[in-house]
């Protein structure tokens, strides 16, 4: 089987991961043994490639077509995708539910903003620091998270999102006495002649998003990914076959937090603001990440991106839908969320995949769908955990 040299399409083989573990176990990459990722029928593959090419062209052309205001909204969708991807690694693939990723996003945002405002760093240099710091905070949270699961974990992380703006507003002394940092516009100036600042910002977001999505894609197909999924579906069984439970969970937590941190860092570039004045902002963000992940398709690679774009689109367009009744905007938004979950219970990507699976030749024993994410409510026992239900594809 050949693998087309297209970056956006899907490969038929598990790619060799970028992680050392994956290299340490070369037999995996041979495709000789049955993988949990089934081979993809040719027609489906073709459609995927087509979609991939179309998306690439659109993505590269969009910033030259749209106004700066619209580019900003697109860029917002891109950084939201990155954060949702981070959450997807943790919740979708590893089964640890977090509704506190807004806090890691905030750590990233404030790292970037503080370095730029107080230490005159250039923006691009702050991104790795933001990723590292938020990853570190994620690591610190990951350890106690080992002890708690499901609903409890969701609550502890919720606490993080509530706490973050309170603590930040206590210690961040921003301009005008307000706990809000606003780096100079010049700090984000385009580094390429011929690209306007908004276009440059868009491409920075896009490039980083592509790198992080490919990284995530490699990761979940490698040894680490199998460990993550095994822990999600059957935690105790996973330990008996030699998965390092603590390492996998804590590692995923840290990585996931770093993704959110990068998103936060990029948000400073797009919105030119790191804000701790709004006590519910980081809770709202946490919720947005979760919503983007679920409506796009949890435990899929493209899901978070699709979900993020839908979310941003909805948010922009529910605002002035009913003239004079702006107060209903959140209700329309909420109703749209419910409608999406009703129509596409596996998220948009899950739904499309199901459709493609029908189109493609149905090769027996190769279900196209992947295991669903773990439960948010599997506290008393594991019976509600739906992992391992592979009944569809027909």
């Amino acid at each position: 089987m050949t693998t087309p040299s297209d970056s956006s399409g899907a490969a038929t083989e598990p790619a060799i991961g970028t992680l050392p573990e994956a290299l340490a176990e070369p037999t995996v990459a041979e495709g000789a043994q049955p993988s949990i990722w089934p081979p993809v029928p040719r027609l489906v593959l073709g459609i995927r490639i087509a979609i991939g090419v179309a998306l690439s062209v659109v993505a590269l052309y969009a910033p030259f077509y749209f106004t700066p205001e619209n580019n900003r909204i697109l860029s917002q969708a891109i950084y939201l995708s990155i954060a949702a991807m981070g959450l997807n690694l943790l919740t979708g693939f590893n089964g640890q539910v977090s509704i506190g990723h807004g806090a890691f996003f905030g750590v990233g945002a404030f790292t970037t903003a503080i370095l730029m405002v107080d230490y005159d760093w250039t923006f691009e240099a702050t991104i790795p620091v933001a990723a590292a710091l938020s990853g570190l905070v994620g690591l610190l949270v990951g350890f106690p998270a080992l002890r708690v699961r499901g609903l409890y974990l969701a609550l502890v992380t919720l606490g993080l999102a509530v706490l973050f703006p309170r603590v930040a507003s206590k210690y961040v002394d921003g301009t005008g006495g307000v706990a809000l940092l606003r780096p100079q516009r010049s700090g984000f100036a385009s580094l390429i002649d011929g690209l306007d600042d908004d276009q440059w910002a868009y491409f920075v977001c896009l490039a980083i998003a592509v790198v992080l999505f490919v990284l995530a894609w490699n990761l979940v197909r490698g040894r680490m990914g199998r460990a993550m999924i095994a822990v999600r579906d059957q935690e105790i069984a996973a330990t008996t076959v030699g998965v390092n439970l603590a390492g996998t969970k804590v590692g995923t937590f840290a990585l996931s937090a770093a993704y959110a941190g990068v998103a936060g860092s990029l948000s400073v570039m797009i919105n030119r603001i790191a804000d701790a004045t709004n006590p519910i902002l980081y809770f709202q963000l946490s919720i947005e990440f979760l919503v983007a992940m679920v409506i796009g398709g949890a435990a899929t690679i493209l899901g978070p991106a699709v979900g993020a774009f839908i979310l941003v689109f909805l948010r922009r367009n529910t605002e002035d839908l009913i003239e004079g009744k702006e107060i209903l905007a959140p209700a329309i938004f909420g109703a749209a969320l419910i409608a999406i979950v009703f129509v596409l219970p596996e998220g948009v990507v899950g739904g499309v995949r199901r459709l493609l699976a029908r189109l493609g030749r149905r090769s027996a024993g190769t279900p196209a769908a992947r295991p669903a994410p773990a439960s948010a409510s599997d506290v008393p026992n594991d019976s509600t955990n739906p992992g391992g239900s592979h009944e569809d594809g027909t």
């Binding site: 919740t91 539910v97 106690p144 002890r147 708690v148 699961r149 609903l151 409890y152 969701a154 609550l155 502890v156 919720l158 606490g159 509530v162 706490l163 309170r166 603590v167 206590k170 059957q234 935690e235 105790i236 069984a237 008996t240 519910i280 919720i287 979760l290 919503v291 992940m293 679920v294 409506i295 949890a298 009744k325 107060i327 209903l328 905007a329 959140p330 209700a331 938004f333 909420g334 109703a335 749209a336 969320l337 419910i338 979950v341 009703f342 219970p345 596996e346 669903a372 994410p373 439960s375 948010a376 409510s377 599997d378 506290v379 008393p380 026992n381 594991d382 019976s383 509600t384 739906p386």
Partner: protein, 314 residues
């Protein structure tokens, strides 16, 4: 502190007063936590909309009871009607919005639906009932009871606080009886802990989940109305401020213990008040404390203070 000399009794009295403040808030957290525990025990769902369902019912209570803008019913009657309406409303929500996604493979879908409800109920409540803060009459007598006095200063407890404590423990006992001692309660718990296996035993799980949502909504209506009556005024943010503390209380109490929720609610309330009085470094961020408490307790005892351990099976 200024240069006044404080006698031991004065310091002691301040401490007692702050504990009483804490209890007054603690009963509020406890009553909401109780509703959270109930819905968790009967449906196994993390319901983001619990607070806003309660808010909506609270506005209905207010509309029924208010003399200026509403129907001027006695407050006790208003709460009873509101609880009945919430019971029906909770059942409708379960049947129409929750059940269709309950069968989905990802339980996160239910969470998204409750989030949609959370957003929707809050803004619809503001549309119908207005954005201005409102006053909720209290079902409890006004005034206070003197606990002790020393040197002209007295420590008093509000009668409404005592009323809340009584209601809370009565509610707790009633729910405990319902869940632990009646057949319906047994079936509710069976469905919540394992719907498939309950179904195999002939329990109609759909009906039980319906009942669970209806009861939780009804208890939420009671909690919301009483919380609003404890406050000087309430608006659409009533539950958002309370919910964090209530969740902390529910988690501390172990999420499946009714008594645990009440006791933990009091613990959280008292800890908050004492932090405000004695820990200046946490001024304005007292919320750190209950969250730190949860973290410590969960790390030491992952099932909470009162929760039971569950056996892991592969």
């Amino acid at each position: 502190m200024d240069g006044r000399t404080f006698t031991v009794t004065a310091l002691m009295q301040l401490f007692v007063e702050q504990v009483l403040n804490g209890i007054a808030n603690g009963v509020v957290y406890g009553s909401v936590a109780l509703a959270l525990v109930l819905i968790f025990r009967t449906t196994s769902v993390l319901n983001f909309a619990q607070g806003e369902m309660a808010l909506f019912s609270t506005y209905i209570t207010w509309k029924l009871a208010d003399e200026g803008d509403g129907f001027g019913l006695p407050i006790v009657a208003a709460i009873a009607i509101s609880m009945a309406l919430a019971f029906v409303g909770g059942a409708v929500i379960e049947r129409v919005l929750i059940r269709p996604v309950e069968q989905a493979r990802s339980p996160l879908n239910v969470v998204i639906v409750t989030l949609g409800l959370f957003l929707g109920l809050n803004s619809v409540a503001q549309l119908i009932f207005g954005t201005d803060p409102q006053f909720m009459p209290s079902p409890f007598p006004e005034g206070s009871i003197e606990l002790f006095s020393s040197g002209g200063d007295t420590a008093v407890i509000q009668k409404s606080t005592i009323g809340m404590i009584i209601v809370l423990f009565a509610e707790c006992a009633l729910l405990w009886y319902l869940l632990q001692r009646t057949k319906a309660g047994l079936m509710l718990r069976a469905v919540a802990s394992n719907a498939d296996s309950a179904r195999l035993h002939g329990i109609r799980s759909g009906r039980m989940l319906l009942l669970g949502w209806a009861m939780a909504a009804s208890i939420g209506a009671l909690a919301g109305s009483l919380v609003a009556a404890q406050r000087t005024g309430f608006d659409a943010s009533l539950m958002t401020t309370v919910l964090v503390f209530a969740l902390a209380a529910a988690a501390l109490g172990g999420f499946d213990s009714l008594l645990g929720a009440v006791v933990a609610g009091l613990v959280v309330g008292i800890a908050d008040a004492l932090t405000i009085q004695y820990v200046d470094a946490l001024d304005g961020i007292e919320v750190v404390l209950p969250l730190a408490l949860i973290l410590v307790v969960l790390v030491v005892r992952p099932t909470g203070l009162f929760g039971r351990r569950t056996v892991e099976r592969v």
